[in-house]
């Protein structure tokens, strides 16, 4: 092979005054960056392989390691940037589609950061959530047009099936295959402890996790992996996956080498075979077709479970959502363009789709204008980074949010964006038994519980500050938001006023 023009992206700085040659870094690096040279009697590093996942940095007992962005640059050029040139080298070498992982990392505006939240002063009292009751519980599902009660004040109206969430947060879809068994174990256990739900993704439900059924949403995606009667009936809800924020319009491909015995049994495909999810569902070419699948799934589960539809946020999201509501779905999950993935073509990830902030606002406004907002719940996904993002999403009209990247970061993910290599040093996005062990589900589930509890406390504090004692009173309450540094058009789409107005 001829010379590669690629130079290292990162540089490993080793403080030899601190390095004790214990080789922990070497043993922990699946990318084979570190090695011991017996002639030099020194640990040495191959910067070329480093992906900046920082496993070695965190485990080094003497803090001898620092990873920095490699100082080697090209001649400065505002148009032909470092990434632009490198991508061409990579493609000229391989002739392939560039792959990447996790969410869009381009510097698009983050609208959450241009929105600020209101608080009460003088004319209406704020509430202290530590001293007064504060309700975060939400129900996901279709709500009836009206509630009828009999003379004894019992509800006569038959309620459609609902999902009860103790806090408006769920773990979004990540398949067994894209993430490890231990990662799934941690998510499932945390969901149970928190009284929320996690989502299996499209890779089926491992038999070990059937016991978490009441905290599980199972997905039916275009590959229909792992779908059988038991799968559908074990879960609390079923989600039809149409699209994903990181790669709208694109299917999925789990390479055969990742389809182990265990994954093959869970996905119900032969071991070692590629698991291909087509870009479309080949039986869905219209809203009517979608309605047919929704009602097929409802029929299969005796109308006992909510059936949701997940779509990527794209140009006509409001009209599509209206169609989905009318097709009979109980909830719609909308995944913005910063949503994560275990593998996506880089150009798709970085250029396709729209921000979740606009999608939620547009969908909520459209459904309300059509008088059908109550017929469907709205779940916002695609880079919810903290509790304030959740408060803003709910004030823009979401009923709850999905988090996944944040959950993985809680489990140890350092956002190196190398999930697609299957070499995740943190034991998350890998099926290598040597690496999967690194994620201890005992530790992982506690970290997830801590994260969601911490966010819930913060949401309560923000609600209290606004003088609101129930998350339901915040829903679609856009007067609680103001925009900073946005154009009038952006403010209009978000349906919020500018700060000071």
């Amino acid at each position: 092979m001829s010379l590669s023009y690629l130079t290292p992206e990162f540089k490993v700085l080793r403080d030899y005054d601190k390095c004790i040659n214990c080789k922990v870094c070497m043993r922990q690096c699946s990318f084979e960056v570190h090695s011991y040279d017996e002639h030099l009697d020194k640990m040495i590093s191959n910067d070329m392989n480093c992906v900046n996942c920082q496993r070695c940095v965190v485990l080094c007992p003497t803090q001898a390691l620092t990873i920095i962005k490699h100082p080697q640059t090209f001649k400065e050029h505002a148009n032909w940037t470092y990434d632009a040139i490198r991508d061409i080298y990579r493609q000229a070498e391989t002739g392939g589609v560039l792959l990447s992982s996790m969410g869009n990392d381009r510097p698009y505006p983050v609208y959450w950061d241009k929105i600020v939240i209101n608080a009460s002063q003088v004319t209406n009292p704020s509430i202290d959530p530590l001293r007064e009751p504060m309700e975060l519980r939400v129900y996901i599902g279709r709500k009836p047009d009206k509630i009828e009660i009999d003379e004894n004040l019992n509800v006569k109206t038959k309620m459609p099936p609902q999902l009860k969430l103790e806090t408006p947060i769920m773990f979004s879809a990540m398949s067994y295959g894209s993430i490890s068994y231990n990662a799934h174990a941690a998510l499932a256990r945390a969901a149970e402890e928190l009284g929320i739900l996690y989502n299996t993704g499209e890779g089926g439900l491992h038999k070990d996790f059937r016991k978490y059924g009441k905290n599980t949403i199972v997905q039916v995606a275009s590959g229909r992996f792992g779908v059988d009667r038991e799968y559908l009936n074990t879960a609390a809800a079923i989600e039809i996956k149409i699209g994903q924020g990181a790669k709208p319009g694109i299917g999925g491909h789990l390479p055969g080498e990742k389809v182990s015995e265990d994954i093959s049994a869970t996905r119900m495909i032969p071991p070692g075979s590629d698991a291909i999810s087509p870009a479309p569902h080949h039986d869905i070419y219209s809203i009517e077709d979608l309605a047919q699948l929704i009602y097929s799934l409802k029929e299969a589960t005796d109308y006992q479970k909510p059936v949701g539809v997940k779509i990527a946020a794209v140009n006509n999201v409001a009209a599509i959502a209206s169609g989905i509501a009318r097709a009979g779905a109980d909830y719609i999950a909308i995944d913005g363009f910063r949503g994560g993935t275990g593998a996506a073509p880089k150009r798709i990830r970085d250029n396709v789709g729209i921000p979740i902030e606009f999608a939620i606002a547009a969908v909520d406004a459209r459904l309300r204008s059509e008088g059908i907002r109550h017929t469907i719940s709205l779940v916002a996904a695609g880079s919810i980074r903290n509790s304030a993002d959740i408060v803003k999403a709910i004030a823009l009209g979401a009923d709850a949010v999905y988090i996944a990247t944040a959950a993985l970061i809680a489990l140890g993910c350092h956002m190196c964006q190398k999930c697609h290599t299957g070499k995740c040093n943190w034991g998350i996005a890998t099926q290598d038994p040597n690496l999967v062990k690194r994620l201890n589900p005992e530790i992982g589930y506690k970290r997830l519980v801590n994260l969601v509890q911490a966010w819930s406390h913060e949401i309560k504090e923000m609600l209290g500050g606004m003088g609101i004692n129930d998350i339901e009173s915040l829903k679609g309450n856009r007067l609680m938001l103001r925009g900073i540094g946005m154009t009038q058009k952006e403010l209009d789409i978000l349906g919020i006023l500018a700060a000071g107005e």
Partner: protein
Amino acid sequence: MKKVYVKEEVCVGCRLCEVYCITSHSKYKDVLKAYKLETQRPTPRIVIEENKPVSFSLQCRHCDDAPCVKSCITGAMQKDPLTGVVTCDTDKCVGCWTCVLVCEFGAIIRDVNNKVASKCDLCAEAGEPACVKNCPNEALVYSEGGISV
């Protein structure tokens, strides 16, 4: 008695237990100084078994009827009747390696520099064994009566 147990399914094979075992039995009780300053670095008191993906650290099991104590020709190997901890008095040890031969677990290590037997003392001075305290994945547990798998 409290012993060190290993959850082999989450042992990541980093060998930090070994690093901290050495540190705990060093003069300075500091990782950097133990490795950089001590002319003769202490021999680790644990054995790390590895056959990927399986790995675990093995420490003395402090047997009730310890063969090493019985077979010790000088009485250096003793089991404390109160705590149950088996320790080797290195002043008395002559390096005959009989204990190494009879240990059913292979948990006694030859400290060839000092020609004495080296074995886990549960970090008697520190309270909690250093390997347990510093295991990054909580694969080592210091408990009474074992762990449930």
